[in-house]
């Protein structure tokens, strides 16, 4: 059985639970919001949560591969934000609103 001391002192578990919480908040943002910009921000939150668990595992297993993966994830996140914002600009030009429901009307 775990004592309260083992629960309070921070270990790998704490970082993973924090990662799960942030990921859930991000996924809720993607599911519940209508503004496309906020949805992109929520995706950034989810990627950040994944980064936390990557770095936590990298530190606690003393293995640097996780930190390399974090660099890759950050690059992909920046690229994804650029493309997503370009799509948002396109939606706004066509419909004067950045609502996600206009996404299906985009052509070409």
């Amino acid at each position: 059985m775990q004592s309260t001391e083992a629960l309070v002192s921070v270990g790998l578990n704490h970082y993973l639970v924090l990662s799960a919480l942030l990921f859930t908040i991000g996924s809720l943002g993607v599911l519940l919001r209508k503004n496309m910009i906020v949805i992109l921000m929520s995706i950034e939150l989810m990627l950040n949560a994944v980064n936390i668990s990557f770095v936590a595992f990298a530190t606690y297993l003393d293995n640097l591969d996780g930190k390399i993966m974090v660099l890759f994830v950050m690059t992909i996140a920046a690229a994804e934000a650029a493309v997503g914002l370009a799509l948002a600009v396109n939606i706004f030009k066509n419909f004067r609103e950045v609502n996600i429901r206009f996404f299906e009307h985009l052509r070409g």
Partner: protein
Amino acid sequence: MSELDILFYILSSMSVLFGALVVLTSSPIYSSLYLVMSMLSVAGIFMTLNAPFIAGIQIIVYAGAVLVLFVMVLMLFDLKRETKAFTKGRFSGFLKLVGAGLLCGFIAGAAYESVSLIMATSEEIPTNIAAAAETGFSPTTNSIKEISKLLFTKYLFAFEVLGLLLLVVPIGAVALSRVAGGTHAKH
């Protein structure tokens, strides 16, 4: 309970709080502000994880580059007319909440179990969790040097592919946001 633990609790509660505010605030410009705060807290969490290089990259790339991109795109839009920020449908919204809660529980539970598993088989890992847990953190000295060595040997191909992606993405972004006829195109 050491100082590092207290720092972790402060930073993690800040990141979760500001992350929740990102989703809950109806104005996108405030959402981006809260997202900056959340990113900075996450950078602090990386510092507590003994990864200062990753923390610096987090601040430069996310808080510096990506969020500036977000805010500049937000300035293009007319934000006054956002009346309903959330999707309609109480039942589907309830289902989404329940699904996200279940997802959180599953992730946390699976993480907990996997950590116990790794703890159980920690003899097979050369420098294991148990040793790291005893000393607090493993002394990964010269972390940036090691990371760059790994990046240019083991992950060289992925690194080059990433460079290609970074070439393709701006072209794609420009091609997507460009409408025939420029900004005064008629629809």
